[in-house]
């Protein structure tokens, strides 16, 4: 199964990057789940959690504030001026 290439980036560093099977983020319009093969998308994030599910089933949660989410060819970027793993 294809997997997502996720990176969580904040203004001063790359917070996390790696493979994942699913990303759930909160945009201004509501929560969105992204699976491999998602269409290219750019969305504005509302402050809140970004949940990343790893191939092994573990979950990583990051707090992202004030940023956006871009999906393109199975690459997901969560970009926020302030982002940190919880």
């Amino acid at each position: 199964m294809a997997s997502l290439n996720v990176s969580v980036v904040s203004a001063d560093q790359q917070v996390w990057s790696g493979e994942a099977t699913m990303v759930v983020a909160r945009t201004v319009e509501g929560e969105i789940g992204i699976l491999p093969g998602h269409e290219p998308m750019l969305a504005i994030l509302a402050g809140g959690e970004v949940r990343v599910t790893l191939p092994g089933g573990e979950k990583i949660t990051a707090n992202a504030e004030d940023g956006f989410l871009s999906v393109q060819a199975n690459a997901v970027q969560v970009v926020a001026s302030r982002a940190e793993l919880v």
């Binding site: 990176s7 980036v9 904040s10 203004a11 001063d12 560093q13 790359q14 945009t27 201004v28 319009e29 969105i32 269409e39 290219p40 998308m41 750019l42 969305a43 504005i44 004030d66 940023g67 956006f68 871009s70 393109q72 060819a73 970027q77 970009v79 001026s81 302030r82």
Partner: protein
């Protein structure tokens, strides 16, 4: 000891003390360059991501945005000058201030009035000394810029840009900062920040992204306009943050270079004065010998 010899010894001692200080400062800035460079590198994923996103929105929508449209008439311009808080960095501050002055001349010759936003104690000192007005200033923290200050600067600049020119706002914004090229070279850079002309990165795209030269058709959420609305201020912030990081790395490099040449000069002074001191000591001895010999001669011939 002869008076002359003592003066030389004093000079040698003071050059040695100075050298110790400059050598220490050189080592300190050498270690800080690495940190500053690492911070520039660490902030790169962020600015690349934002630049890509902005280019994507800009190339796939014809949304006219207030930050990208050229005003019909530009009456007032603003310059953001990034200097350091401390000196002892060679031409670092003066070259950036000189560039700013040249830009001011140019803008004034085009009939625009110029306002200033200053970052760093040195530029504030420069303006205060000349009794020149400036809009706002940020002091402190240029050695170690944080994103909050960058955000504050971006907010202030955007606010001035969005205000009407008749209301004290500005129609275009330029930034002047030192770019860190290498440990030896720092180049002052002058760019127009707003209105945005090209939304493409001036850095080479990372190798991995070259295969996606053409942007796919993005789905925007909620819509292209809102996304652009959200992205552009962030883009400005990241440009300003980048300028601050570059400037701080360049400052440390400039300090290292200046302190290195100061240490070298001290070395040279020490060598020169040591020669002179030896010379003085030798001539003192020679004089003493000839005095003794002369005295002995006089005694023996008196007999």
């Amino acid at each position: 000891m002869g008076a002359q010899l003592r003066v030389y010894r004093q000079k040698i001692k003071s050059a040695q003390t100075t050298k110790k200080i400059t050598r220490a400062m050189e080592l300190i800035s050498a270690s800080r360059i690495q940190k500053a460079q690492a911070r520039v590198a660490a902030s790169e994923p962020y600015s690349t991501a934002i630049t890509r996103a902005v280019s994507a929105v800009a190339s796939y929508s014809n949304v006219a945005h207030v930050l990208t449209t050229e005003p019909e008439r530009i009456d007032r311009a603003a310059i953001v000058i990034f200097t350091s808080d401390r000196g002892l960095a060679g031409a670092f501050n003066s070259q950036v201030l000189r560039e700013a002055e040249e830009l001011t001349e140019l803008l004034k010759s085009q009939g625009k009035s110029v306002e200033y936003f200053l970052v760093g104690r040195k530029s504030v000192g420069y303006f205060n000394f000349r009794h020149r007005a400036f809009e706002r200033s940020w002091i402190g923290g240029t050695d170690n810029p944080d994103f909050d200050t960058a955000k504050e600067i971006a907010d202030a600049v955007l606010e001035a840009f969005l205000r009407d020119a008749s209301d004290g706002g500005v129609d275009e914004i330029h930034i002047v900062y030192n770019r860190f090229v290498s440990r030896i070279t720092q180049v002052p850079v002058v760019t127009r920040l707003l209105p945005l002309e090209v939304v493409e990165s001036d850095e080479a795209p990372p190798a991995s992204s070259t295969k996606h030269e053409v942007f796919p058709l993005y789905e925007f959420e909620p819509d292209a306009e809102t996304v652009l609305d959200g992205l552009l201020p962030v883009y400005i912030e990241s440009r300003i943050y980048n300028a601050m990081l570059q400037s701080s790395a360049a400052k440390h490099a400039a300090t290292q270079k200046a302190m290195k040449s100061a240490s070298d000069n001290a070395d040279k002074l020490i060598t020169d004065y040591t020669r002179l001191a030896n010379n003085a000591r030798q001539s003192e001895i020679t004089q003493q010998i000839s005095e003794i010999v002369g005295g002995a001669d006089a005694l023996s011939s008196a007999k």
